[in-house]
């Protein structure tokens, strides 16, 4: 199921192009929207939340156009990036009032707000004014207003900003639980390891264009011009290196304390070879095989060329 579908979507602000001919389908589940600063993430977020109208092309969310379609927000929860609130209100009052805008009666809105506030672990502070909250608490109360009406789709713009490491882990865990319960989540961030901890499904955007979309590992495999880097921890570094150098796909070998780092243009064949070597035991134990660049950071770096 596609939760967000953009077709030849463009947005410009006067002479400045924010998004340029973007066509992308975001599937159900958790998807990370990544890109460096100024890439077009915010513009894309504003288009899919109906705050901006496309200059060209179209965008559909949950199968319907989003611009001038307020009824669709019954099924969408949005947590914006900006740190802005009605500071005079308490957290509970604020979430309840916003929940009330979804058509709930007062009692149901209050119950929904209480559940949402409990989910983000803010019950104790719920009756304090938002103006007295710390940055992390403000971020959590923002999440609460996004989930109070139990939407099908959660759109989160930098949801972990301002949170301490412990709260980040708990929030990431919470987001995964919501996804397991059936809510689709689209998370925008430029903190790669946070996205990586949530999902391997990404949309990478740069200079107003979609650079890549899909599973991060599959994307990595398709990046031909950057050979795969494999790190092997072993005591018999030179012997293993001599053996591996015979492989035509090996591009380079570098020695490091306690192991070696190999670059190969044929990762599948290479992994099979190393597995055989480890199984044979001819060169002593091979303690660890990792791929330092089979991850989001490497994909990001290679595709965005930073």
């Amino acid at each position: 199921m596609t939760i967000v579908a953009a077709e030849h979507l463009s947005k410009w602000y006067g002479q400045v192009s924010g998004l340029n001919d973007v066509s992308v389908s975001v599937p159900a589940g958790i998807t990370g929207l990544l890109g460096p600063n100024g890439a077009g993430k915010s513009t894309f977020m504003k288009l899919i939340t109906g705050q901006l109208r496309p200059s060209k092309g179209q965008v559909q969310v949950l199968g319907e156009p989003i611009w001038d379609n307020p009824a669709l927000f019954q099924r969408i929860g949005f947590c914006p990036e900006q740190d802005a609130f009605y500071d005079r209100m308490t957290g509970r009052e604020w979430v309840t009032a916003l929940a009330g805008l979804h058509g709930f009666d007062d009692r149901t809105a209050a119950d929904a707000a209480a559940r949402a506030i409990a989910a983000v672990e803010l019950t104790e502070a719920a009756d304090r004014k938002i103006g007295s909250y710390s940055k992390g608490m403000r971020q959590r109360i923002k999440l609460a207003q996004a989930i109070a009406h139990e939407p099908e789709l959660l759109i989160l713009d930098e949801p972990l900003s301002g949170m301490d490491p412990l709260m980040r882990r708990r929030t990431v865990k919470q987001i995964k639980e919501w996804a397991r319960a059936g809510t689709s989540v689209l998370v925008s961030s430029h903190i790669l390891h946070e996205i990586e901890s949530m999902t391997s499904n990404i949309v990478l955007i740069n200079n107003g264009r979609i650079v890549a979309e899909g599973d991060v590992h599959q994307i990595r495999e398709l990046i031909d011009e950057h050979p795969h880097t494999v790190s092997i921890r072993t005591t018999q570094t030179h012997a293993v290196a001599r053996e591996l150098l015979a492989d035509e796909g090996v591009v380079s070998v570098r020695f490091e304390p306690g192991g070696l780092v190999v670059e190969t243009a044929r990762p599948d064949a290479f992994y099979a070879r190393v597995t055989d070597l480890a199984a044979s035991g001819r060169f002593g134990p091979i303690d660890e095989i990792t791929s330092p660049d089979d991850n989001l950071q490497a994909v990001f770096r290679y595709l965005v060329k930073q």
Binding site: Y13, G50, P70, L72, I76, F78, R88, L101, G103, H149
Partner: protein, 276 residues
């Protein structure tokens, strides 16, 4: 959620936004300014009452010594009609959406299953309640301070008319400037130019121009004599041609309806880009 509620209708959404905004408006810093502005006529009324009671200096209007009822009429003209009502209309009306944009809280309202126009109407209703809750009691206080009890029965109808026309004036100016605030990038300057520039000039010029002001119709409902303390106001009183009260009420109601409708259209078609 097993059963998702039906998205609120336009009216229900506006009522919800009204509830959310009323508290924000009543307890904001702006209300301090509002209380100061509406408290001043009460202070003036007290001073006038003391001065009149002392008999030291008779209060004069247009050169003639006057009683409390006439001073009340003068204050309705000078303070409430020419200053408080239009300035509150500009102050609050242009800020209905602009405040939310500046505070970057507009996103929360525009990503709910209610029409954007309902947000504007809800905030407009909150403006009406906040301003009338402060302005009308001020008028009541001024009336009872200035007008001796013996004259209340005689002047009560005119006083009730004053309350009604001030409420209507607040509604009309508020709706007009809600449209200005929703449609224009610099609504404050446009609002001030309209009130202190266009309306003042148009009321001075003989002919049809004055019909394109709100002041002409609001002033048409005033039951008191217009004070003429300077050349401009003297000219205004000479060139004044009052339409019938019913016409004034209908036109002001039409101003409220049409400008609010246009404001709704403006809000629903405009893109609001908030500072990050």
């Amino acid at each position: 959620m097993s059963t998702r509620p039906v998205p609120p209708s336009f009216a229900a959404g506006a009522v919800r936004v009204f509830g959310l905004s009323l508290g924000e408006m009543l307890w904001s810093r702006r209300t301090v300014f509002l209380l100061l502005v509406t408290g001043a006529p009460v202070f003036l009324a007290l001073v006038a009452r003391v001065v009149q009671g002392s008999g030291v200096v008779p209060v004069r209007l247009n050169g003639a010594a006057v009683d409390g009822g006439s001073i009340f009429g003068m204050m309705i003209w000078v303070f409430f009609l020419r200053f408080i009502v239009p300035v509150l209309g500009v102050f609050y009306g242009t800020s209905l959406i602009a405040d939310e944009v500046e505070e970057r809280t507009l996103t929360y309202l525009f990503t709910r299953p209610i029409r954007r126009g309902a947000v504007l109407v809800g905030k407009y209703l909150a403006y009406i309640v906040s301003t009338t809750l402060v302005v009308l009691p001020s008028v009541v206080l001024v009336y009872f301070v200035l007008v001796p009890l013996g004259q209340v029965a005689r002047t009560f109808l005119a006083f009730a008319a004053d309350l009604g026309l001030l409420a209507l004036g607040l509604a009309a100016y508020g709706a007009l400037f809600a449209l200005v605030g929703a449609a224009l990038k610099r609504p404050l300057v446009s609002g001030l130019v309209f009130v202190f520039g266009w309306e003042q000039i148009a009321l001075l010029v003989p002919g049809y121009l004055k019909r394109f002001t709100v002041a002409h119709y609001v002033q048409g409902l005033v039951p008191h004599a217009m004070p003429s303390e300077g050349v401009a106001t003297l000219l205004q009183s000479v060139l004044r041609d009052n339409p019938p009260a019913l016409v004034c009420i209908l036109v002001l109601a039409a101003v409220v309806g049409v400008t609010l409708w246009l404001g709704v259209k403006a809000v629903e078609s405009r893109e609001y880009v908030l500072d990050q």
